[in-house]
Amino acid sequence: MVLFVVILALLAAGVVAWASERLSKDAPRLVSILAFGAGLVWSAVLWLDGADAGGLYAAMDWPWITRFGIHLALEMDGLSLLMVALTMFLGIVAVVSSWDEIEVGQGFFQFNILWVMAGVVGVFTAMDLLLFFFFWEVMLIPMYLLIAIWGHEEKAYASMKFFLFTQISGLLMLFAILALVYVHHGATGEITFSYKALLDAEIEPRIAIWLMLGFFVAFATKLPSVPVHTWLPDAHTQAPTAGSVILAGILLKTGAYGIIRFAVPLFPEASADFALWAMLLGTVSILYGGAMAFSQSDFKRLVAYSSIAHMGFVLLGVYAFNELGMQGAIVTMVAHGFSTAALFMMAGAIQQRLHTREMAQMGGLWKHAPRMGTMTLFFVIASVGMPGLGNFVGEFLALLGAFQENWVMAVVATLGIVVAAVYGLYLMQRSFQGTPNPDVASMRDFGLREMSVMAAMMAGLVWVGVYPQHVLELSNATIQTLGILP
């Protein structure tokens, strides 16, 4: 019940934000901040209250389209709670990061942000496959509009590419969902889209592998993994700052979440057969993403490619099929949410000040904006994987898990951390250090508003890095109940 109310509240807040544009310029973003703030407090309260005996924090199951066995079934377990809390937090970050970037349509902009996030909360809690697909699409369209309306110079190309990639891979998933329901119907005579009922579906291995691939392709595109990653650099680079923060921080995690929640548990045998290939894709993503990041001259594009590399660790960890790998994947999801959101916020702030993303036109920015420099240094170091910060814990656990499964792959993937150090420090060197660029006369530094969200993200990374048990406990509860580990 409460989950449905939260999703409806976010949708309603979107409408209110849009309408409040008439009142004042500030009203829409205040509505957004309040909505996400309330959501964050709500998730914190749920977490402090603890789970019930079944490991759930909230659950509901209402009939929706009974004829086809479709239910409004929402459930929140540890992993869902973690992801929803991250969603709410990054919602605030997204609004703050685009505070004075948006000139026109402030109300509609906030409307789209709130609707994307409503879809995301739905994706993270849906327990009915059709409902899940529905929310998957709800996420897509506002995000498309965010890029297409408020994007930069090549927004039409980038938004269409994003839309086509997600839509086509989503259709494969819809096809797999329908086929799964059909197969289950053939075996039991019961039409249902319920996740729990379909978990027990008996599927011929020959068919299961194809259905699993349908899910996997949709999630791998969203994650993204090589070779279906190419929408990401364009979409991230062209999106407004809030769009990039949401895309990198949250939307990529829906792909990872989908793999953990759906692709693997629904088709355990087929996934186990496919594990080596998925690990290979993860390893290739890590190295290819890293190499591509290093080749970029555009600040934002570099961070975008680094996301591909980081999400490779998630793929590697999940398909290692052991507790360490799975834990590592989940911690990486959380830590990457913080570190990349911060770097995209930084990229947006620099672009707003210098009107360029080219690193050749930066250099020595530290002199003008020491606070921005310090923040960039911190988050670059975090994403490089320094011990004591969240990303290290996640990537280390993922590699450890992968090592037990296939040591060759783990050793090769570890090289990705070296590559990360190379492009990370190169980014820092080109933009904030070195000889000051004479073309940049002055630059406004971060103020209290920006610094407070930056501080919150720093605190998050240190928290996950120094005491990861909180995250591990939440994710472990889910891993145990999913029962996907042999």
């Binding site: 590419k161 090589v226 070779p227 990653h229 190419t230 650099p233 290819y288 190499a291 591509m292 290093f294 080749s295 970029q296 001259s297």
Partner: protein, 54 residues
């Protein structure tokens, strides 16, 4: 080095081919109704032949 992402070529080529088909297809849109009618007739004959031979 590979700044433009070689993997993206697959998708860019697909898009270019599709656009090519669009241009070729658009060429046939001439507004000459007799051509349209003739094409429809040819199409119909082909369909009938396929049905008849099967």
């Amino acid at each position: 080095m590979n700044k433009g992402d070689a993997v993206d070529l697959v998708f860019r080529i697909t898009a270019a081919v599709t656009r090519g088909f669009h241009h070729v297809g658009a060429l046939t849109q001439t507004g000459r109704l007799r051509w349209y009618a003739a094409n429809m007739a040819i199409g119909l004959i082909v369909v009938v032949l396929i049905v008849a031979s099967a």
